[in-house]
């Protein structure tokens, strides 16, 4: 191949795309030697390849379908009293469902619904998606404040939008530590401004008996905030402090300050209305407003988490847990690297055995390897955490990706003659049509896994699908162009 031909080859858009992606991938993967002299890269590893632990939590709550001829609000309030827990109308589903934030069996719920003139129509253990997202945020906030560097919280939502499990992954932490972190609550405290910058303790978090979801006050306005309820003692202490330090008489100079783990998370004066009421009575039901619009909503959401002090709105039990030690993770990494290298060599041998022609075998193996590099680039880019099944999928791509190169080569070399450019294109497109069907079957076969929350397999499925797409869109057409150049010699 002379330099002119080489230039024509490299500037062909199919080959150019491959080369550009390859270079970008290597940049994204960024293999380098780190300060300790170890080989490092931007690749992220799952918990089975590095030290860490995971916890699978199961929600002790249920989402039920119902019918009733009673007014909805009264029905829900009565149920909530009877069941001694929060009952929330889930509006994102149609028809509405109820989320009961305490564990009852279906048999236990049925008579209670009947006694409230309603009927239970479906029953599913778990929580609604918004609640699952709230739990996820609470756990993330909690883990972040504890300074754990690398944590991942995922809810596993079923096809019906009810989440039953949530998975917490903590890198670099052993299992006992992980359980402690997830179980640990923050220290919540309300203080009152006395004079100047001085503050005095009023309440601690244990006197808050319940926290509502963010809402508007009055309803329908754009004024956001979070309602919460104090215990009898808490309410009495709150009133006593407000009067003692003069907050009821002069609210503006006596802010109420909420602290979580000694950091201020909220500060505002008593409203005039509340100040007046507190003069004469204890108030258990309070509302902390956070402002209007998007920032008001956002602050209300955060405040809700802080008011709960890291406690979850729903009880959870540990449904599974696990962990890998650092040396074992390291061992797995080395083994998988070896498996990948051996697989590439083995595939190369099979191809060589068949074609006996280095000018065909070499491009095939190189294309094959470049496919894996581009995939690894994608994986680094989306910061996907590779685990053992994902790597097995990547290695399988080595074996199956080259299949399609074999199809192309054999179609083109049909009857041993090197075809004219016209015939070549016809054969290439015939080969590509076989490949597209084969690729479609793999994508479809993996789709259920990618869509379902089948624990760790979701990532594996997504990577396999990506691998097929990279092959069909980028590397196969490029190979078709390269092999034409080689064969036409």
């Amino acid at each position: 191949m002379n330099s002119k031909e080489l230039k024509a080859l490299v500037t062909d858009w199919r080959v150019a795309t491959l080369l550009i992606l390859l270079v970008l991938s290597v940049i994204v993967i960024y293999p380098h030697i780190d300060e300790q002299g170890h080989l490092a890269s931007n690749l992220q590893y799952g918990l089975d390849l590095q030290q860490g632990s995971w916890l699978q939590l199961e929600f002790r709550a249920e989402v039920v379908g119902f019918t009733t001829d009673q007014p909805l609000e009264a029905f829900v309030t009565n149920l909530s009293k009877k069941l001694d827990t929060e009952v929330i109308v889930v509006e994102s589903t149609n028809p509405s469902h109820l989320e009961i934030r305490k564990y009852y069996t279906q048999a236990e719920l049925e008579p209670i619904f009947t006694s409230e003139k309603g009927k239970l129509t479906s029953y599913q253990q778990g929580v609604s998606k918004p609640t699952a997202d709230l739990v996820k945020r609470i756990l993330e906030t909690k883990i972040n404040t504890l300074g754990t560097k690398d944590a991942k919280v995922n809810t596993l939502t079923g096809l019906n939008n009810v989440a039953r499990f949530i998975r917490v992954e903590l890198a670099g932490v052993d299992m006992n530590q992980a359980q402690e972190i997830v179980g640990k609550q923050g220290k919540f405290e309300i203080r009152i401004q006395t004079t100047g910058n001085q503050t005095e303790h009023v309440l601690s978090g244990d006197t808050i008996t319940s926290v509502q979801v963010p809402s508007q006050e009055p309803a329908g306005s754009d004024n956001w905030g979070v309602g919460f309820t104090l215990s009898e003692n808490g309410a009495a202490a709150f009133r006593a402090a407000a009067i003692k330090y003069g907050a009821t008489a002069d609210p503006a100079n006596h802010n109420l300050i909420m602290l979580l783990d000694n950091t201020s998370v909220y500060s505002a004066p008593l409203s005039d209305d509340l100040a007046g009421k507190l003069q004469s009575d204890t108030i258990r039901q309070l509302f902390a407003s956070t402002g209007t619009g998007k920032s008001g909503t956002q602050q209300a959401t955060n405040l809700e988490i802080h008011l709960r002090a890291g406690a979850l709105p729903v009880d959870v039990t540990i449904a599974g847990s696990g962990g890998v030690s650092a040396p074992l993770g390291e061992h797995y990494k080395i083994m998988m690297l070896l498996a990948g290298i051996f697989a590439l060599i083995a595939v190369g041998f099979v191809i060589y055995y068949r074609y006996r022609e280095p000018s065909i075998v070499l491009p095939m193996v190189l294309i094959n390897a470049s496919e894996v590099i581009i995939l690894l680039g994608f994986i680094s880019l989306i910061r996907f955490q590779m685990d053992l099944p994902t790597i097995a999928g990547l290695i399988a791509v080595l074996g199956t990706g080259i299949d399609q190169l074999v199809i192309i080569t054999d179609e083109i070399l049909h009857e041993g003659k090197v075809p004219s450019p016209n015939l070549y294109l016809k054969r290439l497109s015939r080969a590509l049509s076989i490949i597209v069907v084969a690729a479609a079957t793999v994508v479809i076969a993996m789709a259920p896994l990618a869509l379902m929350d089948l624990s760790t397999l979701k990532g594996f499925a997504i990577i396999t699908i990506l691998g097929v797409l990279v092959g069909v869109i980028v590397t196969r057409p490029a190979y078709g162009r390269i092999i034409m150049q080689i064969l036409s010699k």
Binding site: D48, Q56, E58, G158, R164, F165, D174, M175, N176, T317, A319, G320, G322, G323, V324, S325, A326, L328, H331, Y332, M335, L338, A339, F342, A343, A346, V347, V350, I351, R354, P389, A392, I395, A396, L398, G399, T400, I402, Q404, V406, I407, D410, R430, S433, I434, V437, A438, A440, T441, V442, I444, A445, A447, P448, L449, M452, L454, S455, L457, T464
Partner: protein, 283 residues
């Protein structure tokens, strides 16, 4: 390729499919028996049934390990090279905590995976759904792309036979259905039809004598399966050597499935196609 001489000219379609169909029948019977006894076609592993799996790299003998964990519901110890794989039955939280600290005392580098029963059960029903959806999806793609019933059905039947035979062998040699082997089975659904698609394309869309087209398709197809086999074999050997159980199981399932795929493509699928073409279908 000179290694295997693929010459099926002298065999009738019936002769070609008889052996695979007999094996398929036996495999189906075995799976039915398994469903009757365990409720699942393939025996579920800890991922689906719940329990605790512990991996340790140690030179301790099986007896030493068994006696060390005598207080816990140890179901099984299997080994692979230096790796020992311990399976424990379900236990309550207190017992589990004490187990993890016992493990950490003696084997600080262990890998522990504990799956609760309810979570396992949820995964199990989803796993079965995933397999079914995946298979149906693959069938739909095949039927849409061929648009003729017999050739498409032949491909789907071959893929089905791959699955069923692989699952039966998994039961016989004791590979449980785990998240990893489920992934392998799904890979098989996707990849095993590659050579069938090539075969059907060559036979139906090309001019020429049937036997020549079959031989040509085999020439290409067997290499395709061989490359995947080579990659799976490399994983199998390395994972055995390095005691990486999940990869060992995934690659074992792939190897078994691909070997059956060779049979099902070049006997079952070819047999049906040959019958179809001789009856006047295709061209």
């Amino acid at each position: 390729m000179g290694l295997i001489n693929y010459n099926i000219e002298k065999y009738s379609p019936q002769q070609l499919v008889i052996i695979p169909l007999a094996i398929l029948a036996v495999a189906l019977i075995l799976l039915t028996i398994n469903i009757a006894t365990t409720g699942m076609p393939v025996t579920p592993g800890i991922d689906f049934s719940g329990g605790t799996a512990v991996t340790i790299i140690t030179t301790d003998t099986r007896e030493q390990i068994t006696s060390y964990f005598a207080d816990y519901p140890l179901i099984d110890v299997s080994d692979m090279n230096n790796g020992k794989f311990l399976k424990f039955g379900l236990m309550d939280d207190a017992k589990y905590k004490s187990l993890t600290s016992s493990i950490n005392q003696r084997y600080p580098d262990a890998r522990i995976d504990q799956i609760g029963e309810t979570f396992g059960k949820t995964l199990q029903s989803q796993a079965v759904l995933a397999l079914i959806f995946s298979f149906i999806g693959m069938s739909v793609v095949i039927f849409l792309s061929f648009r003729t019933f017999v050739p498409a059905a032949a491909v789907v039947l071959s893929a089905f036979a791959d699955m069923v035979m692989t699952a039966a062998v998994m039961n016989i040699i004791g590979i449980p259905l785990s998240l990893g082997t489920l992934a392998a089975l799904l890979m098989l659904i996707g990849y095993s039809v590659d050579s069938d698609i090539l075969l059907t394309n060559r036979v139906l869309k090309r001019q020429g004598k049937l036997n020549e087209k079959l031989a040509g398709a085999f020439h290409t197809g067997i290499i395709m399966t061989s490359t995947t086999l080579a990659a799976a074999l490399a994983m199998f050997v390395v994972s055995w050597f390095g005691a990486v159980q999940i990869i060992y199981e995934i690659s074992a399932v792939l190897l078994i499935g691909l070997l059956f795929d060779i049979m099902n493509t070049w006997l079952t699928n070819v047999g049906i196609l040959k019958w179809y073409v001789q009856k006047g279908g295709g061209k």
